[in-house]
């Protein structure tokens, strides 16, 4: 079942205006973003569809989509948008939301980011071989790993990658940066979810009051005669 959530849509719209200075309402569906997107052929929804979904209140569907996961952040859409909407910025921000909400997202991008960042947090500088090894282990997809073993031959013969990672001098600080920001992001997301719930409750209350009022109105109209109710309709 499709659930259109206007409160959630309004909440994220305002958030995006604040955080990336982009208003999803500016989109008039010209499709330039999707035409230029190099990765859209693998997306479940094209960029212009994502924009429409954000407008009408299908934010949850967007947050669970492969589109925001597989976006390369090449910025072609942003560069070509005739309404100057930072579409890539919107995708980037929503991706961070999906991470903070710990959503089960499609594709292996989450595994890749996690392998990369935990390696950096531990060693300060990216140990490339270690990162690749942990990523392919994380994918639980031995076929994918085996398909890339061949790459190691030219890399090794040209001595382009040491196998054993070394810790850089600033690694401790980098580790702390990672830990602190991740904790902060989770706390912020929690607070935001609370705000959204509050907004929803308020909207529901106002809605009930409004429908109550409308009900009274209808009754009043009904009691006062058929002509008026037609006008009311």
């Amino acid at each position: 079942m499709i659930r259109y959530d206007a409160d959630q849509a309004a909440f994220y719209r305002e958030k995006l205006v604040k955080r990336v200075e982009a208003d999803v309402r500016d989109c008039y569906q010209c499709g330039n973003c999707s035409a230029g997107c190099p990765a859209a052929f693998t997306f479940d929804y094209t960029p212009n569809q994502v924009m429409r979904m954000l407008q009408v209140g299908l934010v949850d569907k967007v947050l669970d989509s492969s589109a925001i996961q597989l976006c390369i952040q090449c910025l072609t859409c942003t560069a070509r948008c005739p309404r100057n909407i930072d579409i890539a910025g919107i995708f980037e921000d929503l991706k961070t939301v999906a991470v903070a909400q710990e959503r089960e997202v499609p594709e292996q991008v989450k595994t890749f980011n996690k392998a990369f960042l935990s390696a950096v947090a531990r060693f300060g500088r990216l140990p490339e071989f270690y990162d690749m090894a942990t990523f392919y282990m994380g994918t639980m997809n031995p076929k994918m790993a085996l398909g890339n073993v061949g790459l190691m031959v030219p890399v090794m013969t040209r001595r382009k990658m040491p196998l054993i990672p070394r810790r850089a001098k600033g690694a401790d600080e980098v580790g702390r940066i990672y830990k602190k920001t991740m904790e902060k992001a989770k706390a912020r997301e929690k607070a935001e979810m609370k705000t959204l719930e509050k907004l929803r409750a308020e909207a529901a209350k106002a809605g009930a009051a409004a429908s109550g009022a409308a009900g009274h109105g209808a009754k009043a109209a009904g009691s006062s005669g058929a002509g008026e109710s037609e006008v009311a309709e």
């Binding site: 955080r19 190099p38 990765a39 052929f41 693998t42 597989l70 390369i72 952040q73 090449c74 910025l75 072609t76 942003t78 560069a79 980037e92 921000d93 991706k95 961070t96 991470v99 903070a100 594709e107 292996q108 991008v109 595994t111 890749f112 980011n113 990369f116 960042l117 950096v120 300060g124 500088r125 990216l126 490339e128 690749m132 990523f135 994918t139 994918m144 398909g147 890339n148 061949g150 790459l151 030219p154 890399v155 040209r158 382009k160 990658m161 040491p162 850089a168 001098k169 600033g170 690694a171 600080e173 980098v174 702390r176 940066i177 990672y178 602190k180 920001t181 991740m182 902060k184 992001a185």
Partner: protein
């Protein structure tokens, strides 16, 4: 003032040749630079895909380290450059955000560092004339396409290009170095970037298209700045061929490698042996071709000069003969005609 040099993780190992050739070229051009002490990862793509504050704080730590050297930073890797610049600009614009970042860092970042990519720095502070003045090797037969990828063209106001669709800095530098730069439409198309790891089909299709278009433009090699573009086009070229059923064998060169070669550096100086698709036969061939063309031109010029000399000599002898000939004719003819009659 000394320039702070940020190598980044890729340049330490998998793209060592980019680091090495960048340093060599900067030295040759007389740029005073020093590596940032205890730099760490810029956060790259994963950091800004996971959390904004994480990305900006990781980059800000390096900006803080850079202030130990100066307030200008150059990062040959376009990804590092974008991350560092992005953080530097946001922090400079907002004191509130600076405070937020400094809360995360061990020691606060209080400076204002300006970040440059390698082509941006060379165009703005070294200049094409200086580059051209150092050229010692004729690379006019090296046909290349400059590949900017995503990070040196967009957002164009940030990277200092006039147009996001038509960046020019690499073109200008390569032309100054005397290379035959071909015009093509794939300057700023994406190679697949880091999504090439978790979603291989994207990278294979996009990188394959870049190689196809480079050849269609009449290029023998692609020149890149980005180490990740290099990995995707060079190291993974075999995978692309396998996936697409193609047979590409296109050398992928780093911009400073080409500049270094033009400045007369050896293949080892710019580490051509580290590239996967071996560019050395191509470089040898184009230098030999240029020499042959030069020799041919010299031969033609000499021939022309000889011909002209012969012609001049003939004309001189004709003139000399001509001077006596009319005299002879005059003497031979000697009809009883008036002086005014001319044949």
């Amino acid at each position: 003032m000394t320039l702070a040099y940020y190598p980044g993780c890729s340049l330490r190992h998998s793209s060592e040749e980019l680091d090495h050739s960048s340093r060599k070229v900067l030295e040759a051009l007389g740029v005073d630079f020093k590596e940032i002490p205890d730099w760490t990862c810029c956060g790259s793509t994963p950091a800004h895909m996971v959390d904004h504050l994480l990305a900006q704080s990781l980059a800000a730590r390096n900006l803080r380290q850079a202030t130990e050297i100066g307030d200008e930073l150059v990062a040959p890797c376009p990804s590092c450059y974008q991350r560092e610049k992005n953080a530097a600009v946001e922090i400079k614009e907002s004191d509130e955000f600076r405070a937020e970042v400094n809360e995360i860092l061990d020691k606060p970042y209080t400076g204002n560092v300006t970040c440059y990519s390698l082509p941006e720095y060379l165009i703005n502070f070294v200049g094409e004339e200086k580059v051209a003045s150092l050229v010692k090797v004729d690379l006019s037969q090296l046909k290349v396409v400059p590949y900017y990828g995503c990070l040196l063209g967009r957002p164009n106001d940030m990277v200092g290009e006039e147009s996001p669709e038509q960046p020019m800095m690499m073109d200008l530098l390569l032309q100054a170095a005397g290379v035959d730069v071909k015009w093509w439409n794939y300057k700023t198309e994406c190679c697949g970037a880091s999504v090439g790891m978790p979603k291989e089909e994207i990278q294979r299709k996009l990188s394959g298209k870049v190689l196809e278009q480079a050849l269609a433009a009449g290029a023998d090699a692609v020149v890149v700045c980005c180490p990740l573009c290099h990995v995707n086009l060079d190291l993974k070229q075999g995978q692309i061929n396998k996936a697409l059923g193609t047979d590409y064998k296109v050398p992928i060169l780093h911009l400073p490698q080409v500049l270094g070669l033009a400045f007369g550096m050896s293949e080892d100086d710019v580490m051509l042996q580290k590239n996967i698709v071996d560019p050395r036969p191509l470089i040898k061939r184009v230098i030999a071709e240029a020499a042959a063309i030069k020799a041919e031109e010299e031969r033609k010029a000499a021939e022309k000069a000889a011909k002209e000399a012969a012609k001049a000599a003939k004309a001189a002898s004709d003139a000399a003969a001509g001077e006596s000939a009319p005299a002879k004719a005059a003497a031979g003819a000697t009809p009883s005609t008036d002086e005014e009659v001319t044949p």
